[in-house]
Every structure is written in C-alpha cells, then in structure tokens.
C-alpha cells in the first residue's frame, strides 16, 4: 500500500513536471509562430501569388495552440495536485483536441514545403514578370518583388539567366531578344542603378552579369520558417503524448 502510494506520489511529481514543460513549450511555440507570421521575408508576395501560403495558416494555428497548451498545463497541474477526477478528465479531453490541432498545423507546414518546387516559381516568374498589362495588383507585386530580390541578392531568374532564353515569357513578348537576352536587373549595376557594362552584360561576360539563380536565396528563409514550425510542433506533441498517457494512468488510479 505504501509502495503504491509512493508510486503515485512519484507519478504526481512527474506529471507536474511534465505539465510545467508543456506550459513553457506552449509559450515558446506561440512566440515562434508570432515571429513567423509577423516577419515575412522578402519573397512573401511571391508565396501569396502562388496561392500556397499554408505556412502562414500553420503558424496562425500554432499561435492559438501554444496559448491553449499553456492554459491547459496550468489546469493539469491543479488537477494532478488536487487529484480531482473531473478536472483531469476535462484536461485530458481538451488536450486531445489541442493535440489534433497541432498535428494539423505541423503536417500543413511540412506538406506546404514539399509543394514549393523551383518550377512553381519559374512558371510564375515567366508568366507575370514585367507583364505588359498587369491584371491586378499582384502582378505588379510580383514584378517589384522579383526586381528587389534580384537586386539585393545579385542573382538572376530562378535557375539562372538562361531561364529567359529557354522558355517563352511575358518579358520576352515586350523585350527583343537581341537587346534584352535577360532583364537589365541581371546586369551588375553601379551606384546609380545603371549597368556597369551593357555590352558585357548582353554578351554574358562573367563579372558584368549575375549568373546564379535566385532559388536558393528565396527558399532558404521559407524553408527555415516552415520546418521550424513543423518540427517544433512535432517535438511538443511527442512530449505531450507521454504526459497524457501518464495522466490517463494516474486518473484511473485515483480513488473516486
């Protein structure tokens, strides 16, 4: 009897500790998701234009899940200390709902990452960059974003300047191939924003044009955000799983 009493005390202590950790992780998850949502990197308009901004959906869910985890962990601590069956049952059920939501958020973030291949951006860039009659604001945004991206990162196109040679594009229909084998922003520009050597740029002499593609510069921050949300959520859920199992065992051991 005393031994099982001790076991239960130990279990109590473990559950309190587990809930404390869940509470802290909930706060951390909220903070991380607020960072992702409020700090869109430069390529955000491109993501919005591809209509696959699932990462932001996942981050918004993550904010609320984090707060819920924090609140529920406090409820859990109280329930464990008071050994109240009702409180703990409420705790378990609400935790399961939160578990399901966080699972959805984590899977959404991971799936969204897989769908953002270079070809998606390539097609969007060729269709919309410098479109002569922009349909709506988002076409203008795409052009401006690409210009910014190419200027700041000293890159050209998605895979390289040959993107404009290998495929037809909206840009090509308004700019002749002989004068503009690739857009002027792909040239090395001086302080005034003019090409340092226009002929060198048109020929493709290394040093006068940017030869590498922008995909790496673009996908780096997006990947970091998405995998951060996905994997941190996964880690929290693994811990929560253990705590919930322990709580269920504890609940079944409480005298009614």
């Amino acid at each position: 009897m005393a031994k099982s009493d001790d076991c239960m005390h130990i279990l109590q202590g473990l559950l309190v500790f587990g809930n404390v950790v869940i509470g802290m992780c909930g706060i951390a998850l909220t903070a991380e998701c607020i960072y992702v949502v409020s700090n869109p990197h430069g390529a955000y308009p491109l993501l919005k234009a591809t209509e696959s901004s699932g990462i932001y959906t996942a981050a918004w869910i993550g904010i609320f899940v984090g707060l819920a985890l924090f609140a529920l962990s406090i409820l859990g601590i109280i329930g464990v200390i008071k050994a109240s069956r009702t409180l703990l049952l409420v705790y378990i059920i609400l935790m399961l709902i939160t578990f399901a939501f966080e699972m959805a958020s984590s899977i959404t973030a991971a799936t969204n990452q897989d769908s953002l291949t270079p070809n998606v951006f390539l097609k969007q860039m060729l269709e919309r960059y410098q479109k002569s009659e922009p349909n709506n604001n988002s076409d203008d945004d795409v052009t401006k974003t690409w210009d910014e991206l190419m200027r700041q990162n000293h890159c050209c196109g998605v895979n390289g300047p040959s993107d404009w040679q290998n495929y037809t594009s909206a840009f090509r229909s308004t700019h002749s191939d002989a004068d503009y084998p690739w857009p002027r922003v792909c040239c090395v520009l001086d302080a005034k924003g003019l090409p340092v050597n226009l002929d060198g740029c048109k020929l493709g002499v290394s040093g006068y044009y940017n030869s590498n593609g922008c995909y790496d510069a673009m996908s780096g921050p997006v990947n970091a955000h998405a995998w951060g949300v996905a994997w941190f959520g996964f880690a929290i859920l693994c811990w929560t799983f253990c705590v919930l199992l322990g709580t269920m065992f504890y609940w079944s051991g409480i005298e009614y």
Binding site: L96, T168, P181, L203, S206, F234, L237, S252, I254
Partner: protein, 272 residues
Amino acid sequence: MWADGDHRRLPGDAGQLPHSRPRHRGARTMIPLLLLLLPAAHGIVELGTIPALTQDRLEGVTTATTFVLEQPRCIFGNFSNAVIWLVVALDKDASAFNNSAEPGTPETAFQSFPDTVSAYMTLNATLASYPCPKPAGDITVLRVGSETSCATDVSRPTCNGPLPGPGPYWVKFLALEGSVPVAETAWSERITLRTAKPLSSISTAGSGHSAGMIAITAILSILLAILLAALVAMLFSCGSDSCGSSTFSKPESVSVQRYNTHHVYDQAAARL
C-alpha cells in the same frame, strides 16, 4: 589545284609512249603556265580558316536571335587594303553564294533575308579593326544580330540585324578590295540558335512527399490513435468506481479526534 586534262607528262617522255605524237615543247609548258596564271587573274585566296563561335565562356554565345563569333584576327594579314565582310547564309543556300555579289545592294540586303535573299553581308571592317596579334586577356568577339534599330530600315542593307530564326546558319569572311573579292575563309560549321520552349511545358507537379513530412504524419497519427484508444479504455474500464479503490487516497485533511475516556490524568496532574 590545277591539273592537266591528260596525264602529266615530263619533258623527255614523248619518245617512249606509243601512239603519241611529239608535241612542241613550248606548247607543253604554256598550258601549266596559263593555268598558273588563272587563279592570279581570279584573285581569290582561299584561306583555310574556318570561322567559329567564340571559345570564351559567355552566357550569350547563342541566344534566340544572335550569336557570337571569334574575330578574324591574324588571318587576312596580307590584305591591308581590303574591307572584310561577314557573309551569313542559311544552311541550304551556302553553296549557291556568288563571291562577286556586292554588299549594300538589294541582292545582299539584310532586310530581305531569307525571303528573297539567300545570303546577306554585314559587319564590314578594315584590317585595322582586327590588329594582330590578339592581346592576351581581351575578349575579341563579333556579335552577329546586335543591331535592332535598323532591322526594318531598307536604307541600311548592311544592317547587323537580329537573325530571323533558329537557323542553322553558315558564315564566312570575305575580303573585298573595292568591289573585287580578294580572299575568303572557308564556310563555318552549322550554327544553330536557341529555341525557347513554350511556358506551358513547365510542369509544376510536386516532386512527391519528402521523408520528413511522411515521418511526421505517420508518427503523429499513430500517437493520436494510441491516445484515443487509451482514453476509450480508461473511460470504459473506470467509468464506475471499480478502479482505484485500493491504490490511492485523496490527500484530504484528516482530523483525528482523540477521545479521552477519563479525565483521570488531568486531575492527577492538577493535584500534584
């Protein structure tokens, strides 16, 4: 280069061959001499150089409407008075080009190429533009197709305009003194330009699911299933008070009341 219609005869052989009439010696030497003079009268020196695309690693060696050639340096060394022209022809018409065609005429105008004109002449330069030897480290190239301003201007038949299609094209250099061709290079290899694939051919289908995403989905689904099963088991087996009756007791404040059956001890202490 030149050959007798007959076998070659050396002087002195005449007597040994049967059925041959001895010919006058002078006549025999006249024919080779005449034949030797003929190319000099024509005037075209055929240089064996083959014009080629530039060896430098440039991104724009060929684009959809332009290509980049090596400059003809150290080739036309003896012809300091000549003007060197570039002849561009489509693959099938190259052999039909007549060297005596004059540049700047409607027969060689860029604007009519390739509809009515089989080859056009452009990029004229004197030998001074191609100094020999070539300074090391310099990029010496000719960009064919770079002038867009005169592409439809018929008053500029020697325009270096953008090429009208992917080719394939043959080029050669021709040196003219006045309007007389004096030297030419051989025809180049076929030059084919880039063709742009249509935009719709880019497939944006996802590359499948990465290992990470599959791991997350699978593991979390299993965990959720286990939790739900445990919840169901917990509720069904412990719905009544059948569990936990002997294992744990609530930490309520238990007050133990002590009952003294007699007040003996107090009175005894008070008496003492």
